[in-house]
């Protein structure tokens, strides 16, 4: 069905004199649309509009034959604009844009009208639906006259990556990127790499020891010539955009070098002590320290915050291998992409939360695992307060799945309402470990639910049950209470309203109370500011889309790996890191990154230099050209939100593809009473 020529006038999109030749393609969607909307009638009426040269329907517009038909019509009829009316643009807009490209037409001279999700599927009366579809397509016909050809932004990508964080996720990402031939810089805040995996004894579901696994991974990374690791290094600032990030980092001297031989002497000689973060506060360590015997790098570091530079360590080792000068060095790293792998911290229970910090018998699951570690601070023995441990109670969901108004709030007034995911399996793993070593110890597991969701995790629940662990279930609105045991049977008694026995109150004796704590993201507020990361309500980094783009941030070129994104175990961190590495490598390998062209542009004639726009850009993409006194938008940084376009009180900023004149054309057509398309 062809119309009779191009009577339409082109809006200011395209330069004077070009006639519109619009092709309109309306989809039946196999009945999904055409069962309600009379698509044939709409196509016929649309054909009569000025500028429309072709208007017809097809059963499945997204199918290969239909796309071939569109291509053919573009060439045959010399179409210079294409409208597809079908399902939501979120599904197939890209498909159709590629069709235009194949036919040699600029892919942005395209309008996609949603007449399925927003018309045929939601409007009951077919007549009203048909009119609405026609009205929306008319609006598109008007809008399309104001579109100009656009080009994707292409930004060259420097062939290197920066990984922030050298825990398991950062190391896996670095290893995988290096294997692709990319140069990788890894920046780690601590003097030692490996992250929290090094603090574990055994890992589930294989029951292997964590540190040998970690060592294997570390060896792969450090021996790869493509990888450079910076320990004791923090990110100071980062400028630039995808493809060209310039990051200034500051490295604090380690204080120790490879010439140091009498490590034990040096450490013993040090008079200053502080709590050991590695052992979650169970022990102390010196200012010069190694967290564990197989740490990497295999040499101590000096904690300058604790060190008083008394020099006793230096004396003890004959002056060789230790340098007490602590001036930091700054280096600028150049990278095409960035991977954030900054990890998590365990939730720190509040003072008094289940008796934490009040009763010495209350510890966290992390601390229990340190005790169970044969190489840990207690040599694999569980001790607390010098008494023999006969009864252990474990409470799940300390700092997780909390209800506002029930649990103690954090300083900001909010509670941690999300599930921390890994702690159920970790707690049951610990219970089994204890039972295997000391079958006589009674273990009482108090939980809201058992969430052993992973592959092989359910076995821990089964075996723990078989091993005699007693399970009690509480409701999150009625939390267990921890009190001193006045009868003296055990130091503590935990009172729980047990759902498994129909709400009976049960008193559980506890020589040791273990809180299976939730997790929070490690504090990276400066990095979040620097890279303009979106964060979720739970404070973890927010990916673009959890299903379609799980390791990408809205800022192009910055990826996330591991538990900075949310609670996850080592398996999941590894997978996420590999995904991030793969995404990052693809970007680098391509040599350039392509971004949509719907960015803001300043009309230099209209800009009055009022500077109102400078503070509104979430990405700081707008700057002022002092010599001309006008605003300038960075085409690479701009993400196309359009906020500045709405802000400008002189209407001097336009957002390409979403310009005022384009939207106005749409509005005029929608509100046009004379077209007799009112309902």
């Amino acid at each position: 069905m062809q119309g009779n020529g191009s009577a339409g006038v082109v809006g200011n999109g395209n330069g004077a004199g070009e006639d519109l030749r619009i092709g309109v393609f309306i989809c039946h969607c196999g009945g999904n649309i055409s069962d309600v909307v009379d698509v044939k009638r709409v196509a016929e009426r649309i054909r009569k509009l000025p500028g429309v040269v072709f208007s017809d329907t097809h059963n499945f517009m997204c199918s290969d034959p239909a796309q071939a038909m569109i291509e053919e019509k573009i060439k045959e009829l010399n179409l210079n604009r294409v409208i597809v009316a079908a399902c939501s643009p979120t599904l197939h807009a890209l498909t159709f844009r590629r069709t235009l490209e194949r036919a040699g037409l600029n892919q942005y001279l395209f309008e996609h009208v949603n007449i399925r999700e927003q018309v045929s599927w939601v409007v009951e009366d077919p007549e009203a639906a048909t009119r609405k579809a026609e009205r929306l397509i008319r609006a598109a016909v008007k809008r399309i006259g104001h579109l100009a050809p656009l080009d994707k932004r292409r930004i060259p990508v420097h062939r290197s990556a920066l990984v922030i964080g050298a825990g398991v996720a950062g190391l896996v990402a670095a290893r995988d990127l290096a294997k692709c031939g990319m140069k990788v810089d890894v920046v780690e805040r601590s003097p030692f790499i490996g992250g929290r995996m090094a603090q574990l004894g055994k890992v589930f579901p294989t029951g292997e020891d964590a540190r040998p696994l970690l060592s294997k991974l570390i060896q792969e990374v450090v021996h790869d010539p493509n990888v450079t690791i910076f320990t004791s290094t923090e990110v100071l600032s980062s400028v630039g955009i995808v493809g060209d990030f310039r990051t200034k980092v500051r490295t604090t001297p380690r204080g120790v070098d490879a010439r140091l031989t009498y490590v034990g002497n040096a450490i013993a000689a040090c008079p200053e002590e502080t709590i050991s973060e590695f052992n979650y506060g169970l022990t102390k360590r010196k200012a010069i320290y190694m967290p564990h015997p197989n740490c990497y790098p295999q040499m101590p570091a000096i904690d300058w915050g604790t060190c008083t530079k008394c020099g006793k360590c230096l004396t003890a080792v004959g002056g060789k291998g230790i340098d007490l000068k602590d001036e930091p060095r700054e280096v600028e790293l150049h990278s095409g992409v960035i991977i954030l792998a900054t990890g998590y911290d365990p939730y720190e229970p509040l003072y008094g939360e289940y008796g934490y910090d009040v009763f010495p018998e209350v510890i966290t699951l992390q601390q229990l695992w340190r005790m169970l570690d044969w190489e840990g601070p207690t040599g694999g023995q569980i001790q607390r307060g010098g008494k023999p441990i006969k009864n252990i109670a474990i409470i799940h969901c300390a700092g997780a799945r909390q209800y506002q108004g029930i649990s103690m709030p954090q300083p900001d007034g909010k509670v941690k309402d999300y599930c921390a995911r890994t702690c159920c399996t970790a707690a049951l793993h610990a219970s089994l470990e204890v039972k295997e070593r000391w079958p006589e110890i009674n273990i009482y597991d108090l939980h809201q639910d058992i969430r052993t969701y992973g592959r092989g995790h359910e076995d821990y629940y089964k075996h723990a049950s078989e091993a005699g662990v007693t399970f009690l279930r509480f409701d999150g609105h009625d939390l267990p209470k921890v009190e001193k045991d006045l009868r003296g049977e055990a130091p503590l008694v935990v009172k729980v309203i047990d759902q498994l026995t129909n709400g009976r109150e049960i008193e559980v004796p506890a020589d040791l109370l273990v809180l299976a704590t939730g997790v929070v993201p490690h504090d990276i507020s400066e990095l979040i500011d620097m890279y303009k990361c979106a964060i979720g309500y739970d404070s973890f980094l927010l990916e673009v889309h959890p299903k379609l783009r799980p390791v990408e941030l809205a800022v192009t070129g910055v990826f996330i790996a591991g538990s900075c994104q949310g609670p996850m175990d080592i398996t999941e961190c590894t997978a996420a890191a590999a995904a991030a590495a793969s995404k990052a490598a693809a970007m680098i390998a391509h040599g350039q990154v392509e971004m949509e062209p719907f960015i803001a542009q300043v009309n230099e004639e209209l800009c009055t230099g009022c500077r109102t726009c400078l503070v509104v850009c979430p990405y700081d993409a707008i700057s002022r050209d002092e010599s001309r006194g006008i605003a300038v938008v960075s085409t690479a940084v701009c993400t196309g939100c359009g906020t500045c376009a709405a802000t400008c009180p002189s209407n001097a900023i336009v957002q390409l593809g979403f310009q005022d004149d384009q939207v106005l054309a749409e509005l005029n057509a929608l509100l046009d009473r004379e077209a007799a398309l009112v309902l």
């Binding site: 979120t90 409007v123 309500y537 005022d660």
Partner: protein
């Protein structure tokens, strides 16, 4: 007060055949997807709303809203992501200031609050979108046509050159 004369007599203006024209400005990432979700779930709502898609609710210039009313919209619905969830981090922070400020100004111009709504709709809130649209359509239907162009014509605006803002489209 005399000014109440201006808004009086709603009952005579609203008629059984009046179909409100409502323009919805929706942000692509959350609210447009939420509206799609209502469709995927086959939730029915009145056809009176036409959706204009923008990338972010921060793109919604108060000018566009005023123009919509000036050109004959009986109602305008602005939807964006919930605060804290904006795909562009803080685009909706601007919306949450501009729209309430504009609502106050338009209220002083006699545009009833039910005609101009701001709602945060996430990609999962199809049912909520349906509820909002149904509710708003009925409320605007009860209020009757706004017909700003007709009102202005009756007051003598439009004899001279100034017929349409932004020229012919």
């Amino acid at each position: 007060m005399a000014d109440q004369v201006m808004t009086a007599d709603v009952s005579t203006r609203a008629s059984a055949t009046f179909e409100p024209r409502i323009i919805g400005f929706l942000c692509y990432w959350c609210s447009y997807t939420g509206a799609d979700m209502a469709g995927t779930a086959r939730m029915k709502y009145p056809p009176n709303i036409d959706i204009v898609r923008l990338m972010c609710s921060g793109r919604i210039d108060p000018e566009l809203v005023a123009t919509a009313f000036a050109k004959g919209a009986d109602g305008v619905l602005v939807c964006g992501c919930h605060i804290g969830d904006c795909h562009y981090m803080v685009g909706n922070h601007k919306t949450m200031v501009r729209i309430p400020l504009l609502q106050r100004v338009l209220r002083e111009m006699g545009i009833e609050p039910q005609r101009f709504r701001l709602e945060w709709v996430s990609a999962a809130e199809g049912a909520r979108f349906q509820k909002i649209v149904r509710e708003m359509t009925e409320q605007v239907r009860q209020l009757g046509p706004l017909n700003w162009p007709g009102l202005m014509r009756s007051r003598g605006v439009g004899h001279g050159m100034d017929l349409k803002p932004w020229g012919e489209v």
